[in-house]
């Protein structure tokens, strides 16, 4: 008994070593695949959330400025440059509001929605000194595929309905995540 016990504990047999190696390799492969898949799925989900989130953000931002606007301007000169309304640029004139939410007579805030390059869209707001709106440039989305405006009249002074079409697109390795939103908005103060 003593001799057998000692011989058994001298080391591992070849079979045991092979089994241990096979088991540990397959476990590493399983865990590695699991981690790889987790990170791939979470990257995909992050991109998808950002894509649909930014499409919604653009729509809400458009509503917050287009609905209170009183006119779509053909062209307006901002501090940073002059913007002209077209199918990809929207220049709005919005009555200024004071801290209690009332409009201030004959003062206006100006806003422009535009794209730089093919994927980045911005909103530039230039508020009157009396207005409670905050001036500034805001990046709306950096995964834009199409950001277009359709007007109900060729003459900008008569435009009172703007149809906004937003398409965002992002690439995750081989997969493409895309989002499409479209809404019409009636200028409430026209």
């Amino acid at each position: 008994m003593m001799c057998c016990l000692r011989r058994y504990q001298r080391g591992f047999t070849l079979l045991e070593t092979v089994i241990v190696i096979v088991l540990s390799v397959s476990m590493f492969i399983t865990v590695g695949l699991l981690i790889y898949n987790f990170s791939r799925i979470s990257l995909y989900q992050k991109t998808a959330t950002q894509s649909s989130g930014s499409a919604s953000t653009v729509m809400r931002e458009m509503e917050s400025l287009t609905l209170p606007a009183d006119a779509v301007l053909q062209t307006h000169t901002f501090v940073g440059g002059t913007y002209t309304s077209s199918s990809t640029v929207l220049v709005l004139e919005i009555p200024s509001v004071d801290s209690s939410g009332n409009t201030i007579a004959s003062t206006h805030d100006y806003a422009v929605f535009y794209s730089v390059g093919t994927t980045s869209s911005y909103r530039l707001l230039e508020a009157n000194a009396l207005s409670t709106r905050v001036s500034g440039t805001k990046l709306l989305s950096s995964t834009m595929k199409a950001f277009t405006f359709t007007f109900n009249d060729a003459d900008f002074t008569k435009v009172n309905i703007v149809t906004v079409d937003v398409q965002t697109q992002a690439q995750v390795k081989q997969d493409t995540v895309s989002d499409h939103r479209s809404e019409q908005m009636r200028l409430r103060n026209q």
């Binding site: 016990l5 058994y8 699991l34 987790f38 799925i41 979470s42 995909y44 989900q45 998808a48 959330t49 649909s52 499409a55 919604s56 729509m59 309905i161 989002d179 499409h180 939103r181 479209s182 809404e183 019409q184 908005m185 009636r186 409430r188 026209q190």
Partner: protein, 128 residues
Amino acid sequence: MKSSRGFSLIEVVISIFIIGVMLVLLHAVSQNSVLVRSAKNRGIALAVARDKVESLRIGGYASLPQSGTFSNSLMSTLPPGATTTLTVSAYNAKTTQVAVGVTWTELGSTASSTVSLQTLITQTGGLP
């Protein structure tokens, strides 16, 4: 020698624990992708409903349609079988209540989801 005849309780407990944690993680990830997809569909449905409400407001009281359904090009981006509803009912003599709904069923789910918006449209004092 005696201990190598089988697994001890502690070994079994630990391996069950490890397998359980992995299954929970896997389930959490797959659950999360369902959430992401349903959030996206909800956003699309809201855009469809808002667009319809806006167009009804623009049209005004006189040209309100009958109850029924309506079409929107974005409906094709919702799961197949998504439907729209439009309910137009009298609120009082000079006011109509309009309810716009978008209903869809997530892929692999049996329960349907709905986004609905309501508004009142009056005979006078609507959008200019």
